[in-house]
Symmetry: C2
Subunit: 528 residues, 2 copies
Amino acid sequence: MSRLRIGLAQVNTTVGDFAANVKLMSGMLMDARDLGVDVVAFPELAVCGYPPEDLLLRPSFAEANRAAVEELAAETHGLTAIVGFAERELDMHNAAAVLHDGEWVATYRKQRLPNYGVFDELRYFQPGRGEVCLHRGDARIGISICEDIWLPDGPVARLGRAGVDLVVNINASPYHRSKWRERHRMLATRASDYGVVLAYVNLVGGQDELVFDGDSMVFGPDGEVLAEAKLFREDLLVCDVELEQVFRARLHDPRRRHARSGEPRTLHRVVLSPIEPRPEPPPLPATHPVVHDDTAETYEALVLGTRDYMRKNGFEHVVIGLSGGIDSSLVAAVAVDALGADRVTGVSLPSRYSSEGSRSDAQELADLLGIRMLTIPIEPVFQAMLDTLAPVLGDGAHGVTEENLQSRIRGNPLMALSNRFGWLLLTTGNKSEVATGYATLYGDMAGGFAVLKDVPKTMVYELSVYRNARDGKPVIPQSVIDKPPSAELRPDQKDTDSLPPYDILDPILERYVEDDWSVRELVAAGHD
Amino acid sequence: MSRLRIGLAQVNTTVGDFAANVKLMSGMLMDARDLGVDVVAFPELAVCGYPPEDLLLRPSFAEANRAAVEELAAETHGLTAIVGFAERELDMHNAAAVLHDGEWVATYRKQRLPNYGVFDELRYFQPGRGEVCLHRGDARIGISICEDIWLPDGPVARLGRAGVDLVVNINASPYHRSKWRERHRMLATRASDYGVVLAYVNLVGGQDELVFDGDSMVFGPDGEVLAEAKLFREDLLVCDVELEQVFRARLHDPRRRHARSGEPRTLHRVVLSPIEPRPEPPPLPATHPVVHDDTAETYEALVLGTRDYMRKNGFEHVVIGLSGGIDSSLVAAVAVDALGADRVTGVSLPSRYSSEGSRSDAQELADLLGIRMLTIPIEPVFQAMLDTLAPVLGDGAHGVTEENLQSRIRGNPLMALSNRFGWLLLTTGNKSEVATGYATLYGDMAGGFAVLKDVPKTMVYELSVYRNARDGKPVIPQSVIDKPPSAELRPDQKDTDSLPPYDILDPILERYVEDDWSVRELVAAGHD
């Protein structure tokens, strides 16, 4: 066997839903077998979903992982599968099971456990010790998990020194805007450093507050991309590796021969039993290169995150308060792309301060998106609340208290619709508002899923313009994009009454919130 | 100097308030000097407060730590201080500065970093390498930080082998009910294992969701308690250590002599410069042993947690919705004990379903506590809301939707009072309700601080009975304790309509939530 056909199973599994995950992964195994795949790899912790968080502390959860891997093992006749799961031995490990021709033959344990940003792996796992190298006919296949490859020394360097042909790297790597550039560069460098083929498989799908973009890839020994999976959807990426070419590439490069000096003592070799000869596999269709576009990918991440939050939590329908402003308009567009127009209900909740333009913009949006629209005027409740509170608040001029009252009155009917009909309320606030507190707790901040929680206001505009241009058929009225932002909780209110313009505010927030700059540093950099 | 006078400065510092923390700690240094203390120890991360969490990722926060330690160093003329702070060197460390006679002379770095439960230290810190032993005249003093002592091997074992006389252990160890028993047992064992005096100093005070109980202690070389600080309040515990006696105790015990075999190569010795002779220090007053009582301590933890949340976040007054039920009654009693009756306002928000008994119970509670009581009937707003929603909800029988509507209508006036007057709304829900979802999001779950969030319903009763008996003057009407629990959101509603009785529910919740039992295990243990 001088050619190895590898498959990368870019699956969208659900945290804790072992039955559904096994079914999904079994289907992928069947597809891989039909395509003549020799070795198929699934993402990190694919069996239990990612991030499992404190479920990992439940012994019954670990037991369900083991049972699921055993079920999958029985489905691997005729091929080899590498499957991410949570292993409970003397301790817990983030592990990869090697399933071969119907048997569970080996387990690799992740050595580098990330514990920053969204990762808390040291809370749950013990690091593994030692690498695993599979001998599959002529092929030498090293296994690694996610962070194992992000550092220049460590497990993948040891696999490289040992002279493997192929490094499989299984991942649960969340989407960040533009992160793909860094990821491509690092992976290409690792492949080229050791003259190996590098097969990177990543989860896809939304889970809680994370979105995984997939983007599984195979790199050749010069760092070139041999194949790249679809973004933001499930895929089985299949790619042929010519082992002789890989070996020759290493042999001809003195840098790589030097790097290969000495097998690490931590390496564990697993010789896989021969598999019955099969008919020549079908030739692979030509693939098209993936064109990356940051705006389009951000929009797709929001759509997938919303869709999967609904599906994985058992919701069928969403309700959105539509003010006629740009945030709720973009959320409605995302929701329709995620779920279809018949599963989205918009609600207009006009008050004495709602402009005629806002009401008609909300209606026009609903018409363009083809969604149902309810109207619930809040004036009678607002007036009753003001009368009720007059004895305790006094009757001075309206201020922030009365603004928040309106926002909270709006939250109540939206939650009542959620209660009565089982609809999920989508929150419409953006990251700039949340960061500055320009929002009402229990009012417009109410809801089960905040679509724009990580999208600053300037990006809300960018995404709205993108969505309108995408299909040549605008869905957000142009007047929504053009008018100055307003909460409409008092006469002639503008966001800029309380906040700097968003093109000034957003860069400050990014440096302060994301990059941990001090106020002194911000001022020194020229921010006012 | 064959006698060493040690001081344990049990302080209540605030996360991020460096100016206040330095002032507080400087005052303790002055008191210690006045009492003739030779070595005074402050808790873990006392300089920056605990838990600093992601503030540690801000370079300006690390810089403020360093500046604060330098300020404190200048206040240490005539004595030695061990001060917990966050150190930024090539990486971040959880560290103890040794300040001696006006100078910063050494730094110890915590070696064992906990990363479970409420601790995330591996997210922020690198572990230190090596122990620090201070030579202060004849005394040999080893330094350790919190988790360093919880494991039988490791830093404190190495200090013991090196033959130190005194181990100082600085802590930020949060209160759990009954945890003191385990803590006493472990510390007594460590002191006795190595034949050393063990000085354990802990933070005190509430910070965010944690409460620190203090309970600083000094153990003798046989594991006996030599002195114990006050619980739940600041204290400077002073204790004399007779060095000759400690040395003799070690010399006479073959087990300890054996344990002392061999100085670890990781030990760093710091010889402190001699200090000007001072007049004989005043004799210490006799101390009284601390009597532990789990119920009283739980109540004190709630009082201190509430008081410090207010103070550290700049609130002066609280508002509480008083239903006449036991949860809000206990919260009101805690609030009055924390803040005084003149800083607590109760609000009755009767609806069509509120019983006459509940209204009079709420009023009687307010009278017994001496707090101001407002009444805001929600009927007009509720009716206006029902009328407004009739077209979209239909006019079927009232159900959970209408129950939640009432609860959310109550949340709105309470938040309006918070908005208008700057009062903090205290949430009254207990842990049993929150765990089962028997509560209304944005309704009775609204508020800035949830006093009973970690108190199951059966313990709510226990604490109420305790508080009524404590001073011989009941503050919670007996009828509140006697009547069956009800949300009063529909006619004749009882909690047991939806939930098992709490004496059956609470043990299940504890095993499921706290101990991670599976449903199968619960059933096997006899739960229905």
